[in-house]
């Protein structure tokens, strides 16, 4: 084990979740679990057309209906254009959204809302609203959107931040390091592949939900299932035209987010109902609405071209991405940025790198942030191309990765050239245990014995595939999280953090970091998070930032508090402070003289020179150290039916110091499970008119317990010097792996390259048949 970790008392242990007891007993901890008297239920009328102008809207029958309190449309709501993307300010997403618009841009776009005494009344009232639409020509694919003379999705004058609205281009990126043309010309072997990914939804088991009410001081309280409480406060204030100080956002327990709750969708509407009626308002999306109207992953077409020398060293990398950002541009630029920035630095041996692409509007459901955030889409062609390259060069796939991946002490020009919608930040990798990950993963799956062997059992053929990955840990020099710690007279501490636990366990691991620095067990840290009135700022839970960025804030705040504790103790013990150490809930001299933390706080609070022991600190990072991982799968494919079974899935990951092993494993296992679903079964099927055909969990298949293959997760020993107690991120990286790993395993088994997800039995069988026909010469 790394020396720097050997004295940890709490960090590195699988402490129980600080919120676990309440969760296993089913306490009313989630947004909709509290009942407020007089709550209005809000339901939303949605556009049946992919592109249409509202000519007229008659809400009079709804307004007359007994039990209806308020009807909202474009006629009586603010017309301010904003972005729903919960990103740092100023957001790198266009301001192209109105709370209720006069133009509908996708099937499911918001026409009107009814607030009523019951959900049933609200639903009935929606049916009485008469809307006359003028249907407009719609663009239902990226190719249609980019065609000459294509209908324009956003032709309004008042939207801002769109790269080229007339051509449906939300964002355009073009960055170059070295000279790729020369790089390819000087390469011995070149491969090129284009891969396409599908519409997929996050499907948190708790759909989006927001509850608003007026506080006794008449301020608006938004209790909401969000990943970004502080961005909710800012964006709702802007959209409603009220001051930030008039809003308090409380994030209770959240039933999963995965990116879709990094979006301000419901809070403004609920808040407006409350401000107009002075009554609490609840909006709960149904599962169907969650699919149709919340957010999805960006479908992309990504082309990768690799050039290498005969010895296997990469010489040139080119990646071109076209991203479908749907009807609104939320996260359009930054997801596309990450397609390059989180993938290309992995192979930093190539001196010539070109990344370019576009994010385009269509009249289709709206993508946003989704775990992996563009990297998932980029790793598909990159890691498939690496597999093809290995075959062409006659070098083992594992070996080719080993030769070319980035290592500690190295950098990549991409770090500076490509940031989060702007230039990035220079960075030298300080921790990288990818070699170890590759070794462990290869050994666990039996790579050298089984790869390329095509073992047959009847109609089933076995295959092995692998891929390697990196992600980041927060957005450097943008993401900031803060922590406040105050001490109580029994030697316990309140830890107040803006950081947003959406089920990840961040309350617990941040508590562990504080406990470690303060020399107390975790139960002496009372964690309270994500309440804009009571906790300091944090950008929220996204970009794999919380452990690294917010964790640094917690560590710094705890260190400041520890200094104050030592100062008081030094005076009490009448010794020089340099001799004192804090551990086991006391402050001690080297010869064993000590005073308990409880006594120290009592002294500071009640006895002498009274003051509150406490501090606030911020985490703003100048790096974004990538976690690394190697992913391996053994599969079997039925050549008669196209059915694919994963026999074993092994991953080894370097996420720096593992603060809480069970929770970190849980993050990795969950990301892999979600990634396997995206690779094999999950797809939002769109109708020819742009609607979602399978907006339910029966027809949209996420993995259940019976679908999970054996999963072998190893977190390797690592230490990130810039991270809190050596930690970096673990949240997102795993989701990128299953697509390329399984694509490569399919090729190993049956010799066909699938380039469109999901890899359904139908596609596998069709590819097999095409191959047979081709080899027959027919």
């Amino acid at each position: 084990m790394d020396e720097r970790k050997k004295d940890f008392a709490t960090v590195g242990k699988s402490e129980l979740k600080v919120d676990g007891r309440g969760l296993v007993t089913g306490k009313p901890l989630f947004t909709a679990d509290i009942d407020l008297p007089g709550t209005l239920h809000v339901k939303i009328l949605r556009s049946p057309h992919a592109h249409a102008k509202i000519i007229s809207i008659d809400t009079s029958a709804a307004e007359m209906m007994p039990g209806v309190a308020l009807v909202l449309t474009h006629k009586n709501t603010p017309s301010t254009r904003y972005t729903t993307a919960g990103q740092g300010f100023p957001e790198p997403s266009p301001y192209d959204t109105r709370m209720f618009d006069t133009v509908m841009r996708f099937v499911g776009d918001r026409v009107a809302a009814v607030a009523a005494e019951t959900r049933q009344i609200a639903e009935a009232a929606l049916k009485t609203i008469v809307v006359t639409y003028e249907k407009l020509p719609a663009v239902l694919s990226i190719d249609e959107a980019l065609a000459d003379g294509a209908p324009v999705v956003h032709d309004e004058e008042d939207s801002t931040g769109i790269y080229d609205a007339k051509r449906n281009i939300v964002a355009n990126i073009d960055i170059l390091a070295g000279d790729v043309e020369r790089g390819f010309a000087e390469s011995d072997v070149i491969v090129e592949t284009t891969c396409e990914t599908q519409y997929a939804q996050h499907t948190p088991i708790e759909p989006h939900v927001a509850l608003s009410y007026l506080a006794p001081d008449d301020r608006l309280v938004l209790r909401t299932s969000t990943q970004v409480p502080f961005h909710v406060r800012r964006i709702v204030a802007y959209a409603l035209g009220i001051p930030v100080h008039q809003i308090r956002v409380i994030k209770p327990r959240v039933g999963g987010g995965f990116g879709t709750k990094q979006e301000i969708l419901l809070e403004g509407v609920a808040g407006l109902v409350t401000l107009r009626t002075r009554r609490p308002a609840l909006i709960e999306l149904t599962r169907e609405e969650e699919f149709v109207s919340s957010r999805t992953r960006h479908p992309m077409r990504v082309r990768v071209k690799l050039g290498a020398r005969k010895d296997g060293m990469l010489n040139a990398l080119e990646m071109e991405g076209i991203s479908n950002t749907g009807a609104y541009g939320s996260h359009g630029l930054t997801v596309l940025s990450n397609t390059g920035s989180k993938t290309l630095p992995l192979y930093n041996k190539a001196p010539n790198v070109h990344f370019y692409g576009k994010a385009v509007y269509t009249n289709l459901p709206v993508p946003g942030a989704y775990r992996g955030y563009g990297a998932t889409q980029g790793y598909f062609p990159l890691e498939v191309a690496m597999d093809e390259l290995a075959e062409k060069l006659g070098i083992d796939s594992v070996e080719l990765r080993r030769m070319n991946h980035i290592r500690a002490g190295e950098t990549s020009p991409i770090f500076v050239k490509l940031g989060e919608g702007r230039e990035g930040v220079e960075q030298v990798i300080e921790s990288c245990e990818l070699e170890k990950c590759i070794d462990i993963g290869a050994q666990r799956i039996g790579w050298s014995e089984k790869h390329g062997k095509k073992t047959r059992e009847g109609s089933w053929v076995h295959g092995l595939g692998m891929s390697v990955h990196m992600q980041g840990s927060g957005i450097p020099e943008i993401d900031m999280g803060a922590a406040t710690i105050k001490m109580n007279e029994d030697g316990s501490f309140n830890l107040l953090i803006g950081a947003t636990d959406l089920g990840t366990g961040s309350d617990t691991i941040l508590g562990q970091i504080a406990a470690e620095v303060l020399g107390v067990p975790l139960e002496k840290i009372i964690v309270y998070s994500s309440d804009t009135d009571l906790t300091p700022f944090d950008v929220g839970a996204y970009a794999s930032s919380t452990t690294y960025v917010s964790g640094t804030a917690v560590k710094r705040a705890a260190e400041k508090v520890r200094e104050q504790i030592i100062n008081v103790a030094a005076e009490m013990l009448n010794v020089d402070r340099s001799q004192l150490t804090v551990a086991n809930e006391q402050v001690c001299t080297p010869d064993g003289k000590g005073v308990t933390l409880a006594k120290i706080c009592e002294q500071a609070m009640y006895i002498k020179d009274q003051f509150q022991i406490g501090a606030t600190a911020s985490g703003l990072m100048h790096q974004s150290p990538p976690p690394f991982m190697a992913s391996f799968a053994e599969i079997a494919v039925d050549t008669e039916t196209g059915e694919l079974k994963i026999l074993n899935y092994a991953v080894a990951a370097d996420c720096g110091t593992v603060i809480n092993p069970k929770m970190a494993e849980g993050q990795m296992e969950g990301a892999i499970a979600n990634g396997i679903g995206y690779a094999l079964t999950e797809e939002m099927q769109l109708s020819p008119t742009g609607g979602v055909r399978n907006p339910n969990l029966f027809d949209y298949k996420i993995l259940g317990m019976l679908d999970m293959p054996p999963l072998d997760v190893v977190l390797v020993d690592s230490y990130e010097p810039t991270g809190p107690l050596g930690a970096k991120s673990v949240a997102e990286i795993g989701i990128n792996a299953p697509i390329p790993t399984l694509a490569n395993a399919i090729y190993d088994a049956i010799g066909v390259r699938l380039t469109k997800t999901p890899f359904t039995p139908e596609k596998i069988l069709a590819a097999l048949q095409a191959k047979t026909w081709n080899s027959d010469g027919s």
Binding site: V24, F30, M708
Partner: protein, 157 residues
């Protein structure tokens, strides 16, 4: 409105319900908030309760159909502030991430273990196959059910 009687977590109670009201809606409006709404179509399992000894998705059971029945929810597992072995096992094995699917999984586990004290991994996966979780890869829930089985067997001795 129709009058029905239910014994919920050991307490006999009477309710007036609408014909179309689901058991999920009734339980949530009566304060049993462990029962979660995830899909309202019986697909996700978040609303699982034990009705007359068997796990059901309460979102597709009409409340009137449950008349006279016995319901157990996650609130009813804890006794005098002491966690039920199933709850302990879910907590200790790290089977809880966001916790939204947890009460439903616990109730499916309760049904399984009350009919099969020592289930195999396959039996566990079959029994909980209707309880979707998006945070985990189910690895730790399978372990939790195993651990719960051990705890309950030990307790019974």
């Amino acid at each position: 409105m129709i009058d029905i009687t239910l014994t919920i977590n050991g307490e006999k109670r009477q309710f007036a319900v609408n014909a179309g009201e689901t058991l999920l809606e009734l339980l949530r409006r009566e304060g049993y908030k462990s029962v979660k709404k995830g899909c309202e179509s019986g697909d996700c399992g978040a609303c699982t309760v034990v009705l007359n000894g068997r796990a059901v998705t309460s979102c597709i059971v009409f409340a009137v159909k449950a008349d006279g029945g016995t319901v157990l929810t996650a609130e009813g597992l804890e006794t005098n502030g002491k966690l039920h072995p199933i709850q302990e096992a879910f907590l200790e094995e790290g089977a809880v991430q966001c916790g939204y699917c947890t009460p439903g999984m616990e109730m499916a586990t309760y049904d399984l273990l009350s009919h099969n004290a020592n289930p195999s991994v396959t039996e566990i996966k079959e029994a909980l196959s209707g309880n979707l979780c998006r945070c985990t890869g189910y690895v730790k829930q399978v372990k939790a059910v195993k651990t719960a089985a051990k705890k309950l067997t030990k307790e019974a001795k």
